[in-house]
């Protein structure tokens, strides 16, 4: 009998805390210098302790790894560095036993050029897979589609000398786009989904979904055909696999992203990309306006859907969804060294972006956790790990997890030179200063703080389920809002300034109620008809639960 560890709860993801894992960088279970599933299993107790509800795995499939595994060469296997399909199954089962779910990255838009489908397509144009990719005699169609990897790709078309035609690729030239106009491709991808769902996986993070179809005269993003196909995927999942989640990666403006929720019949979740750079912008400018504005611009979503919110992830801090002016500002403030820039973004981890300021890191987590959505943490950020801007591409934010102050940061027992990347050794963020073991033992560490903070958020479903109501005041340095779900009312007040700030909130609607600070459970003076005055420390914040007086 296969044991089912979860009760049926189709909305579990709305109150979940997600954790993004780079398998290669997490823990090496077989001493070969590269992280793997056996290693990940050994660290599940740690993730459970931290309070993680769902683990998001970066691509784990066989791949030539020219794009961190997002160049998939076989949809039905596990990269040999990470283990076997059996190891993967064991991992999912072990995670489930600890009450955690697992979702995996899946790239539907394209494959690696090494994929047998592409090899067949380029060598046998009239064969059964001849039409599985987007081929053209010229490089002129679809000129309105932008180029995403501007640093490396001059065009979305690349000439293939073997077939003698151009093929279409929205990302790297070694990642040809699949042709979703071909019904066989649509079915093949559904088979891929079923394969992993049958192995027990709890869902997918769908990489680069806006680009599935191409149409002349459009920018090739968010086309109706793409939405229709995603709805078909959802219907298939709902029919056979309850309690699973589809999380869309659509780096778009909110009004375009909400299309991916459909009427609650497309993706369950989508990342809210534009809010992320604005949190950093607000912190730098000491001004809450960018956060208020982007949330105002965010339309409502169906009740069975949820935003995925994050501060940093495995990619560069993306600046696609900001204005040119805002981008210049971000580069100037957060990427002083040109090496820190990549494509339209900044390739740095959270702690170094904030100059290692503990108050700043806590404040941004508080804002992240207070917003309507489910927070997604990036491995290593829970111990405020650093980065290495001298490594190529995005490797600088993918260095080994720092477990201990011992050899190889406790990440691997392999030889130093054998490691896929060397752990950080600089005096500020190096593994002797920053590691899990030391932070676990130190009650005042960031890890311990975050652990308590996650527990606090999870005690209150209001953060996942409640309404959001901004409380703008005449002090622009304060970001304040109220979340409410049924009888649970929470007031969150954050000071973005580096100096202490007073704020007067109009809370007359809640007159007679008592704000109780949520960390220390201290009651503050009751709310009256007059403006409610609070004083906040530099980069300080308060979360209150508003309680009825007895």
């Amino acid at each position: 009998m296969s044991e089912q560890w979860f009760e049926r709860d189709p909305n579990w993801f709305k109150t979940a805390v997600f954790y993004e894992v780079h398998i290669r960088g997490f823990f090496d279970g077989n001493d070969d210098g590269s992280g793997d599933f056996r290693g990940l299993i050994e660290k599940l107790d740690y993730l459970q302790w931290l309070g993680i509800d769902c683990i998001w795995l970066l691509p784990m499939y066989p791949s030539p790894l020219r794009d961190g595994g997002y160049d998939i060469a076989d949809f039905f296997g596990i990269h040999p560095d990470y283990g076997t399909v059996d190891d993967f199954k064991e991992f999912v089962e072990q995670a489930h036993q600890r009450g955690m779910r697992v979702i995996a990255d899946l790239v539907m838009n394209h494959t690696s050029s090494d994929h047998p489908w592409f090899q067949e397509s380029r060598t046998d144009p009239s064969g059964p897979r001849g039409d599985w990719y987007v081929w053209s005699d010229t490089d002129t169609p679809y000129q309105d589609a932008r180029i995403i990897f501007v640093d490396t790709e001059p065009s979305n078309w690349t000439f293939d000398p073997i077939r003698g035609q151009y093929y279409w690729h929205r990302f790297f030239s070694h990642q040809p786009d699949l042709n979703y106009d071909n019904p066989d491709v649509q079915d093949a991808m559904l088979n891929v989904l079923r394969f992993w769902l049958d192995l027990g996986i709890d869902g997918f993070r769908l990489d680069a979904v806006p680009y599935l179809y191409e149409r002349e005269g459009t920018n090739g993003e968010n086309l109706p055909e793409t939405h229709a196909y995603l709805k078909r995927v959802r219907a298939e999942v709902d029919a056979r696999y309850p309690d699973r989640v589809l999380l869309a990666e659509a780096n778009q403006w909110p009004e375009d992203v909400v299309q991916y929720f459909g009427d609650g019949d497309e993706c369950h979740m989508a990342f809210h990309f534009p809010v992320m750079p604005r949190m950093f912008m607000s912190a730098r400018r000491e001004d809450a306006t960018p956060i208020y504005e982007i949330l105002e611009r965010t339309p409502g979503i169906p009740s069975n859907c949820q935003w995925g919110l994050f501060l940093r992830n495995h990619d560069e801090l993306t600046l696609e969804m900001v204005t040119d002016e805002e981008r210049d500002y971000m580069y100037m403030e957060y990427a002083k060294d040109p090496r820190m820039k990549l494509n339209l973004g900044i390739r740095r981890r959270l702690a170094p972006l904030l100059d290692g300021g503990r108050d700043d890191v806590e404040l941004l987590h508080a804002i992240l956790f207070s917003l309507p959505g489910s927070p997604v943490l990036y491995y290593g950020d829970e111990i405020a790990m650093g980065d290495n801007v001298y490594l190529g591409d995005r490797d600088g934010v993918r260095t080994p997890m720092q477990w201990t102050g011992d050899r190889n940061a406790g990440f691997s027992r392999a030889d130093w030179a054998q490691l896929y990347l060397q752990p950080l050794m600089d005096p500020v963020y190096g593994y002797q200063a920053v590691n899990v073991e030391a932070q676990l033992r130190s009650p005042t560490s960031f890890l311990r703080w975050l652990h308590r903070f996650i527990a606090l958020r999870k005690e209150h479903p209001v953060f996942g389920l409640g309404s959001y109501e901004p409380q703008r005041t005449d002090n622009p340095r304060i970001f304040a809002h109220i979340r409410q779900w049924e009888e649970d009312i929470v007031l969150c007040v954050h000071n973005l300034a580096r100096s202490a700030q007073p704020v007067q909130l109009d809370l007359s609607r809640y007159a007679g109620m008592v704000p109780e600070e949520m960390f220390g459970r201290t009651s503050f003076p009751p709310i009256g008809e007059l403006p409610y005055l609070l004083t906040l420390a530099p980069r300080g914040f308060f979360w209150f639960r508003l309680r009825q007086t007895a």
Partner: protein, 436 residues
């Protein structure tokens, strides 16, 4: 019972309904399964209650609830025949344990033996006891899992398992109930302690030595099968001590934060939270914690019974307040040992609170020593940290964890008992702050 209001009314009036303070927003029957009887028609229902905080509970209902003896009798009979019954969204499987003699008998007299928070029990003819799990959690119930394992691996000091029934289907898969031999003429270990502590302390100390041996043997058996994944001993990860320290530390911080200032019973430790946390840090300096295995999980005198000149260990459900995955987790055996040691501290104080007599001077120290002597004689040393001082330190950590938990519990529920955990914490502070 399709009407939501009737269902809410029905469930909330049951003794086993645990969430009395919560507001129910919805209730529904998720599945129901008919037992093969016609008049009266007996049935089991799986019902869900949703609370306005967003949480929900799943309960097992017996129908009709006012003839629970009738339903229980039918369940035992279906277990005997190994029936599988179909519901609308899942199945109920009822299974006997082969070779269990008690199943053959006719069930004449049934009586209720009180409901706990999450289950109800019926005793038949002082021979069999059927425990019905009311609040359901997905997964195998540890009680069933542990009893099966201990039975199969020849641990004699338990009440034999006779059968069980479980549900698997859309809403969840869960153990619904178990049938066990009823230990007749046994004497509850806690009551026995209170009786003998004052009158025949020496005799009880002898029994505790035996309890130590039985406990060590129980742990040896639980660690004996490397081929059973749910029981195979595990080497704890390098973080395990760190995770334990962090968890206990946060618990200490939380409890001391809300310690009442005016309570005299608390005064020996009032304001000493930081000292206790320092103590914890000293005690958890890195080292090998021993192999982790499945343990009893909620071990104290009240879970034991003296019958036919030996101890019977009962109730392998684990701490009811913890989640099922948490309760099935492999841990250090010293956690069970610490639980029992704390229970001796309770017994020593309870004699004066409940029986109005005083225990002999130094009784608790002797009780600890005798129990530990029996335990360390039988337990497999691979399950323990290496070296006596490392064992003592880890044992003290678990005692501290337990005492802090008790402190919160007594403050909330039994103010007269607060002195017991306070003395426990004080004792640990004094023992370990004396320079070595």
């Amino acid at each position: 019972m399709n009407d939501e209001g009737t269902l809410v009314e029905h469930v909330t009036h049951q003794r086993w309904y645990g969430a009395k303070s919560r507001q129910i927003s919805h209730a529904q029957v998720l599945d129901s399964v008919m037992l093969p009887t016609t008049e009266p028609q007996y049935a089991i229902a799986i019902a869900e209650l949703r609370y306005d905080t967003g949480a929900h509970d799943v309960y097992q209902l017996l129908h009709p609830e006012d003839d629970s003896f009738g339903v229980a009798r039918e369940l035992v009979s279906a277990m005997r025949s190994g029936l599988t019954l179909q519901g609308s969204d899942g199945i109920v499987e009822l299974r006997p344990v082969l070779g269990f003699a008690g199943l053959g008998r006719e069930l004449i007299d049934a009586r209720d033996v009180g409901a706990e928070q999450s289950n109800t029990s019926v005793v038949f003819d002082d021979e069999l006891i059927l425990k019905v799990f009311r609040r359901l959690e997905p997964g195998v119930n540890p009680e069933l899992e542990m009893l099966r394992f201990l039975t199969e691996h020849g641990f004699p000091n338990i009440a034999a398992l006779g059968g069980w029934y479980s549900y698997s289907g859309g809403p969840l898969s869960a153990t619904l109930g178990i049938l066990q031999e009823y230990v007749r003429g046994g004497c509850d270990g806690w009551e026995l302690a209170l009786d003998e502590l004052a009158e025949e302390p020496e005799r009880f100390l002898g029994r505790l030595h035996r309890l130590g041996e039985v406990t060590g043997e129980m742990h040896r058996v639980l660690a004996s099968d490397a081929n059973e994944p749910a029981f195979c001993p595990e080497t704890p990860s390098v973080e395990s001590l760190g995770l334990l320290t962090a968890t206990v530390d946060e618990e200490i911080e939380r409890v001391f934060l809300s310690l009442p200032d005016e309570d005299e019973a608390v005064s020996p430790i009032a304001g000493r939270g930081e000292e206790v946390r320092d103590l914890l840090r000293q005690m958890t300096h890195a080292g090998f914690a021993g192999q982790f295995i499945r343990t009893h999980g909620d071990y104290h005198l009240g879970q034991t019974m003296w019958a036919d000149d030996d101890w019977v260990i009962l109730d392998f459900e684990g701490e009811p307040a913890r989640s099922l995955t948490e309760r099935r987790r492999k841990r250090s055996v010293l956690r069970d040992v610490a639980g029992m040691l704390r229970s001796f501290a309770y017994a020593a104080s309870a004699v004066s609170l409940l029986r109005d007599t005083e225990p002999a001077y130094g009784w608790e120290d002797q009780a600890r020593a005798r129990f530990l002597e029996g335990y360390f004689d039988t337990v497999d040393p691979a399950l323990l940290p290496s070296g006596q001082s490392a064992i003592d330190r880890l044992l003290a950590v678990f005692e501290l964890e337990k005492a802090v938990y008790e402190l919160q519990y007594e403050l909330d529920n039994r103010p007269d008992w607060v002195g017991i955990p306070v003395r426990g914490i004080q004792r640990l502070l004094e023992e370990t702050t004396t320079p070595a």
